[in-house]
């Protein structure tokens, strides 16, 4: 029932995971803004350079977004699982924090202002 191949498979997949993680760490640029999306629409753009506290109101609840030392994180939310609070700090371009129950996404975007938006 347990084959040696199973563990080789496990090793290969974990290796692929780590390699892509390392690649992602190296090729990511620091971002300039924290964009807040609710239900796919951008409702606010906060510059990472200014320390602020922003309370995002959604139809299903609120999330308290903190910008501090060039990083963004969610300090508090009234969703049941609080996963977004545990997702930690983000600062690199493309990083995001997702709050599934509130359909809220915080995403770091690049510093260039004329970045085209396909959404």
């Amino acid at each position: 029932m347990i084959k040696k191949r199973d563990f080789i498979l496990a090793g290969i997949i974990i290796a692929i995971g780590f390699i892509s993680l390392i690649c992602m760490k190296f090729f990511r640029k620091p971002g300039g803004y924290a964009d807040i999306y609710v239900d796919g629409k951008r409702i606010n753009r906060l510059p990472l350079s200014d320390d602020t506290t922003y309370t995002a109101e959604t139809q299903t609840g609120t999330n308290v977004v903190i910008i501090e030392n060039g990083e963004a994180y969610i300090r508090d939310a009234d969703c049941p699982d609080k996963l977004c609070v545990h997702m930690g700090h983000i600062s690199k371009k493309g990083d995001n924090i997702v709050c599934v129950p509130h359909k809220l996404v915080i995403e770091i975007s690049g510093g260039e202002e004329n970045e085209y938006d396909v959404r």
Partner: protein, 182 residues
């Protein structure tokens, strides 16, 4: 199971029991209960990970045993019953679609991997765990209309493999001593 007669490659279980046999119904009920208890146990073990979607997937032990010993249709039935019941009992209705997406992709991939006979139960479980995570990620990307969520794929690959090994070993050990065909 339902198409067991046409496929020709019937396993011992489906040869002895037709679709409506009391034994099948009893087994499905029992497995649903066990899966439900596993899901409940999982809510008691908080894995305080930084990434959502990482969980042990204990219920997958049941899915693997049903899939490998009873067939894909029974595995689908048990999963549907488990997801509906867990949603009703301690779930969140908006998260139900994620459970369904993960379970559907996971069962589909596990069936294919099991059919190739390349890997043992643990390998099937690893692929199922990863497929479950990927299915949920794709659902999240569609629901949030945000493709950057797919950046979590590497982390979920790793976590899916680790949890897949754990549940797979458990499923393999259980399958060794529990034979449904008897």
């Amino acid at each position: 199971m339902s198409r067991g007669k046409k496929s020709g490659k019937k396993n011992e279980y489906s040869q002895m029991h037709n679709r409506r046999s009391a034994k099948r119904i009893a087994l499905l009920g029992m497995f649903t209960t066990v899966a439900l208890i596993f899901s409940y146990m999982e809510t008691l073990i908080p894995i305080d990970a930084a990434i959502p979607g990482i969980k042990l997937g204990l219920a997958n032990i049941v899915t693997i045993i049903v899939l490998t010993q009873m067939g894909i249709s029974d595995a689908v039935l048990v999963s549907i019953a488990r997801i509906c019941l867990t949603t009703l009992l301690f779930g969140n209705l908006s998260l139900m679609i994620y459970s369904f997406a993960g379970a559907a992709l996971s069962i589909f991939i596990m069936k294919i991997i099991h059919k190739t006979k390349l890997f043992g139960v643990t390998g099937v479980s690893i692929c199922g765990g990863i497929a479950h995570n990927i299915g949920q990620l794709i659902t999240a990307a569609m629901m949030m209309e945000n493709q950057n969520i797919m950046l979590y794929t590497p982390i979920l690959l790793i976590s899916g493999t680790i949890t897949g090994v754990i549940t797979g070993l458990a499923a393999a050990l259980i399958s060794k001593s529990v034979k449904l065909s008897g």
